[in-house]
């Protein structure tokens, strides 16, 4: 009986080991997709029709940060960056999001290839001066972490069409706005590479790992083409 039992345990143990291994390998080579709707554009090359696939790209924007400096896609040239949407008087998920974003900030404090942009969805209230005060109280600085304001419609459209997250006014919502708690990871080509729950520590851990992974892809020798 005892021997049977031991064999049984050994088998269970063995199976569980076997089970783990492939999963982990898969994880390592996991795809790092470009998110968003793709566009297919036909064009003619040497009389033949070819179809180009165009990946979703963050559209152009021009917003002003806490130091009264214009922030545009050019501000993130040669950087990967993380974007989110919030407002300073938000009583619900924003404080948690800011606490989590602070972890991202501190993780890449000395890495110039990473930046952060937080868009206010309440530009009427969140003036440049208020955003400056907010940033100082969090003890963070631009250009590493930009708190931006601007035209309300532009910000909402950028959120919905560009970063593919919800950001709009809703008087029924606590605080008066409805917005997603997402952190969006954008690569150097302005493609969205990941969307993470900014209120969930585990998901933000995953974001930090993915930023490392994304940065590593840029340092890779160009053997693949």
């Amino acid at each position: 009986m005892k021997i049977y039992f031991k064999t049984f345990i050994a088998i269970i143990f063995g199976v569980s080991l076997l089970g783990c291994d492939p999963a982990e390998k898969q994880n390592k080579n996991e795809e790092f997709p470009i998110l968003g709707r793709k566009q297919f554009v036909e064009r003619t090359v040497n009389g033949e029709t070819v179809v180009d696939t165009i990946d979703h790209t963050i559209p152009d924007f021009r917003l002003v940060n806490q130091d009264s400096i214009w922030v545009t896609p050019k501000s993130f040239e040669n950087k990967v960056y993380v974007a989110d949407f919030f407002f300073t008087s938000c009583p619900t998920i924003c404080p948690t999001m800011k606490k989590e974003m602070l972890r991202v900030y501190n993780a890449y404090k000395n890495n110039n290839s990473v930046a952060i942009i937080s868009h206010t969805i309440d530009p009427k209230h969140d003036t440049v001066a208020l955003l400056k005060d907010f940033a100082q109280r969090l003890d963070v600085e631009a250009p590493k972490w930009n708190f931006v304001t601007g035209n309300k419609e532009e910000i909402y459209e950028l959120g919905q069409k560009g970063y593919m997250v919800t950001a709009m006014e809703d008087e029924n919502e606590e605080g008066g706005y409805i917005h997603s708690g997402a952190f969006i990871l954008v690569d150097k080509e302005k493609h969205v590479r990941g969307v993470y729950d900014g209120t969930n520590s585990n998901d933000v851990d995953r974001l930090i790992k993915d930023i490392d992974r994304l940065l590593a892809t840029y340092n890779e020798p160009k053997t693949k083409s």
Partner: protein, 154 residues
């Protein structure tokens, strides 16, 4: 059963008994040392309910650790502002606050929303929890105290 096995059983069982089973050691402090068993039981109930309410309504800003966040949201842990005045705290929980306050020599200026839907009991549970966590040791904040405080809010 070998001696080694019996020993490990005994250790296991004693571990189970020592971690709970009727004692409220996890809630006891200098402030609660003279509480009767019945009082202690009630206190523990407030602490447990208070923690749940705190997690729902307060911890987004003040954090689970009661440490607040930077200079945006003030700490409750070892907060001089809070420890000075329980009446004011009860009013703040219920009615919120706007404008500057100074906590441990730092000026904070972030609006705190009102929680008008809270009952006096719930305010008392939250108050009991925050006044007896993270190194704060004040003891019970009773419903009666809260009632009096709330009828005298400024």
């Amino acid at each position: 059963m070998s001696l080694k096995q019996s020993l490990s059983y005994i250790t296991f069982l004693s571990l189970i008994f020592s971690t709970g089973c009727g004692s409220y050691s996890e809630f006891s402090s200098e402030a609660t040392k003279d509480y009767s068993r019945a009082e202690m039981q009630k206190f523990a109930k407030y602490m447990v309910a208070g923690k749940q309410l705190y997690t729902t309504h307060c911890s987004n800003c003040h954090q689970e650790s009661g440490q607040g966040l930077g200079k945006l949201y003030p700490p409750l842990a070892k907060s001089d502002f809070m420890m000075q005045n329980v009446n004011r705290t009860a009013c703040l929980i219920k009615n919120g606050i706007k404008g500057e306050i100074i906590v441990n020599n730092i000026t904070y200026n972030q609006e705190m929303p009102a929680l008008e839907e809270l009952t006096n009991l719930e305010v008392a549970e939250i108050a009991t929890y925050i006044y007896n966590s993270w190194g704060n040791e004040r003891g019970f904040v009773t419903v009666k105290e809260v009632e009096t405080s709330l009828s005298n809010c400024q």
